[in-house]
């Protein structure tokens, strides 16, 4: 599965708007993830997961920054996320099902904050892009 030119344009253009709220989006995405899918909290026993916690905000920023890196190298997501891919495969070992859950919560957050931009076409492009990112991050699992 690879992104068409149109899809890449949509994503890069939207990212220009989204990135100004990157930190807030990261924190909100994680908050949505932990509330809707409580089992995902099992990966963070060492975190203070109260909404607004410094750790949550920092981690949310990290996650969104990584998405941003993928956007900036949209022609070579595998290259851009190679280190993160190894981290997830050998150290973090987050079960692959969770990438879909996180992607969904990121999409919900973006939809809520940028309704005008979240057209069906944009929705499709982002769903596909996050699917590519998830694939890259689980590529080395076995």
């Amino acid at each position: 599965m690879s992104l068409t030119k149109t899809e890449r344009t949509i994503i890069v253009t939207m990212w220009g708007k989204i990135s100004s709220q990157a930190d807030a989006i990261g924190a909100e995405t994680l908050e949505r993830l932990f509330l809707s899918y409580p089992q995902t909290k099992t990966y963070f026993p060492h975190f203070d997961l109260h909404p607004g916690s410094a750790q949550l905000r920092a981690h949310g920023s990290k996650v969104v920054a990584a998405v941003g890196d993928a956007v900036k190298s949209i022609d070579n997501v595998a290259g851009a996320l190679a280190k993160l891919s190894e981290l997830h495969a050998y150290i973090l070992r987050v079960d692959p099902v969770n990438f879909k859950l996180l992607s969904h919560c990121l999409l919900v957050t973006v939809a809520a904050r940028f309704p005008a931009e979240f057209t069906a076409e944009a929705h499709a492009a982002w769903d596909k892009f996050l699917s590519v990112v998830s694939s890259v991050l689980t590529e080395k699992y076995r």
């Binding site: 908050e31 509330l35 999409l107 939809a111 809520a112 069906a120 929705h123 769903d127």
Partner: protein, 147 residues
């Protein structure tokens, strides 16, 4: 059975009361067909689904979207007995329509995203969590009679 707290029930019914079933139904079904194009396999008789604009302006998509959301509404009035409420529809989707239940999960999540788009900040993480329980419950109820 879906286990919603009193607060969650109030959040769901409160928001749902403001939903334009025709608009949100059309957006949800249309988005499903665009974001997950393989779902178009069930709608050969719907005419032109060849582009996002064709799908979103397709009258049959809008009408069917409204039908689906109206049925979903019914479920919201019977959260304590979703399996009973959707028993006949479950049989229909299995025996006549031959729809893989995975599609109910896809549509449920698309609906959540469309609600986020329509309600913005009002669609808080707490409201989303409540709706995720509902869409999962409805999907399970629709799959319950499969054999």
């Amino acid at each position: 059975m879906v286990h919603l707290s009193g607060e969650e029930k109030a959040a769901v019914t409160g928001l749902w009361g403001k939903v334009d079933l025709e608009k949100v139904g059309g957006q949800s079904l249309g988005s499903l067909l665009i974001v997950y194009p393989w779902t178009q396999r069930f709608f050969d008789s719907f005419g032109d689904l060849s582009s996002p604009s064709a799908v979103m302006s397709n009258a049959k998509v809008k009408a069917h979207g409204k039908k689906v959301l109206t049925s979903f509404s019914d479920g919201l009035n019977h959260l304590d007995n979703l399996k009973g409420t959707f028993a006949k529809l479950s049989e229909l989707h299995c025996d006549k329509l031959h729809v893989d239940p995975e599609n109910f999960r896809l549509l449920g999540n698309v609906l959540v995203r469309v609600l986020a788009c329509n309600f913005g900040p009002e669609f808080t993480p707490q409201v989303q969590a409540a709706f995720q329980k509902v869409v999962a419950g409805v999907a399970n109820a629709l799959a319950h009679k499969y054999h």
